[in-house]
């Protein structure tokens, strides 16, 4: 069969995924978005995508797979809610608010920073700073050289370091 009709993840399968992973996914969204309501939205979108576009079989590590989907949902949300940088303009990143009380500003700045990063750099940054992997482990996970990981990580930290309290490490 060359293609398949719409197959959705329903009922007990979705419930099982939710019970095991929803809390962890929500935490990841919270770390990225800094807002409970946004994290709720991203969690909902994640499970909507999982339900609507289930894989033929669950991957070996559903958590890593769900994190990838959730991160993409978060980035999409940041793009929708952040201030757009006009194409062709290299607008400088505005300084983040001290104390980060203004979530909208924070999301806008993070969104602008995220948009400047390619997918590989984002993945490397999140594996290291949210997943806690060493640079060697990131290199193994991404099959990139240790040198490339180091360079991309530096770029990631320059652009988004303030938003993940990297100064505390």
């Amino acid at each position: 069969m060359s293609s398949h009709p719409e197959v959705r993840l329903e009922g007990h399968e979705l419930a099982a995924l939710y019970e095991r992973y929803a809390y962890l996914v929500h935490r990841r969204c919270l770390a990225l978005l800094g807002s409970r309501s946004d994290a709720d939205d991203a969690l909902q979108e994640t499970f909507l995508r999982v339900r609507r576009y289930p894989p033929a079989s669950l991957p070996d590590s559903p958590l890593a797979w769900l994190y990838t989907i959730a991160q993409n949902c978060c980035f999409d949300l940041l793009k929708r809610r952040g201030r757009e940088v006009p194409s062709g303009e290299e607008a400088p990143l505005p300084e983040p608010s001290v104390g980060s009380g203004q979530d909208a500003d924070r999301r806008a700045v993070l969104g602008a920073a995220i948009r400047k990063l390619d997918a590989a750099t984002r993945e490397i940054g999140l594996l290291h700073h949210l997943g806690g992997l060493t640079q060697e482990e990131v290199a193994e996970a991404t099959r990139l050289s240790r040198k490339t990981v180091g360079k991309k990580l530096h770029l990631f930290e320059v652009l988004v370091g303030n938003y993940f309290s990297l100064g505390e490490r």
Binding site: P5, E6, L14, Y18, A31, L63, T134
Partner: protein, 251 residues
């Protein structure tokens, strides 16, 4: 800044990554050494306990049944927006839509013909999170893109939609499980139910719509379509049928 996420553990030289601890917490497979370490390590076991506490509170506040209802509402709202988009697209004049080119009409003499004027099969594709867009001839699509079909027939009849992919395999795209095609009513431009996800077979792919006044011998059509020379325009014989074909490309 308010700490919205429980503290991650301080990672010692023998400690696994936070990601690995979280996988362990989710009852995924980890090495026995990792599991043993996590039990005996103050930082790692403390982190797992914090996750346990947090998850308990989370699930108590957000039970799955309620979450599922929220998903249903969100999906219904998206469906209305998406259907609204479909409706807007379908409302465009047929000439403005790159619909199918009629490549063959079979009207054998003496047989009832489907007297259809102005019917058109419209094909749309959608990707996750994006609005549906019309499929134009030789449009580049990819595995995972979902196709949806719509039609407007001024006369009642039967319809089936076949697919011949780049490997030569023939499938029935619509109706998926029924033999004989699906009945169609006159005057409706609603999307046909269901979508089809394209697989990763590369090359030119033909979507072939067959209208008939009677139930369709789908098996015969599949056999004919499979015998069409590779790269050639589909050629089908079907008494009283009207056939439309659209080619897409999957590089």
């Amino acid at each position: 800044m308010e700490d919205l996420v429980p503290d991650r553990p301080q990672r010692g030289p023998d400690c696994p990554s936070t990601l690995t601890l979280e996988a362990l917490f989710a009852r995924e497979r980890v090495s026995p050494e990792t599991a043993a370490h996590a039990q005996g390590c103050t930082e790692c076991s403390g982190y797992l306990r914090r996750l346990q506490t947090g998850q308990g509170a989370f699930l108590a506040a957000r039970p799955f049944e309620r979450f599922e209802r929220q998903l249903d509402r969100a999906e219904a709202a998206k469906g209305q927006r998406r259907f609204g988009l479909w409706a807007k697209v379908l409302a465009l004049p047929a000439v403005a839509l790159c619909a199918l080119a009629v490549v063959q009409v079979a009207h054998p003499r003496g047989e009832d013909a489907v007297r259809i004027k102005g019917e058109a099969l419209h094909v749309y594709f959608e990707r996750a999170g994006a609005a549906p867009e019309p499929v134009t001839p030789d449009l580049l699509l990819r595995a995972g893109d979902r196709l949806r079909f719509a039609y407007a027939a001024p006369s009642p009849g039967w319809i089936t939609i076949l697919d011949k992919d780049g490997t030569g395999q023939v499938s029935v795209f619509y109706p998926f499980h029924a033999q004989g095609g699906a009945p169609i009513q006159a005057g409706s431009a609603d999307p046909l139910p269901g979508t089809i996800a394209l697989d990763d077979a590369r090359g030119p792919e033909w979507l072939v719509a067959v209208f008939s006044p009677q139930p369709i011998d789908v098996s015969s059509l599949k056999t004919q379509l499979a015998r069409t020379p590779a790269g050639g325009t589909p050629s089908l014989r079907c008494g009283g049928c009207r056939i439309s074909a659209l080619r897409i490309q999957k590089p």
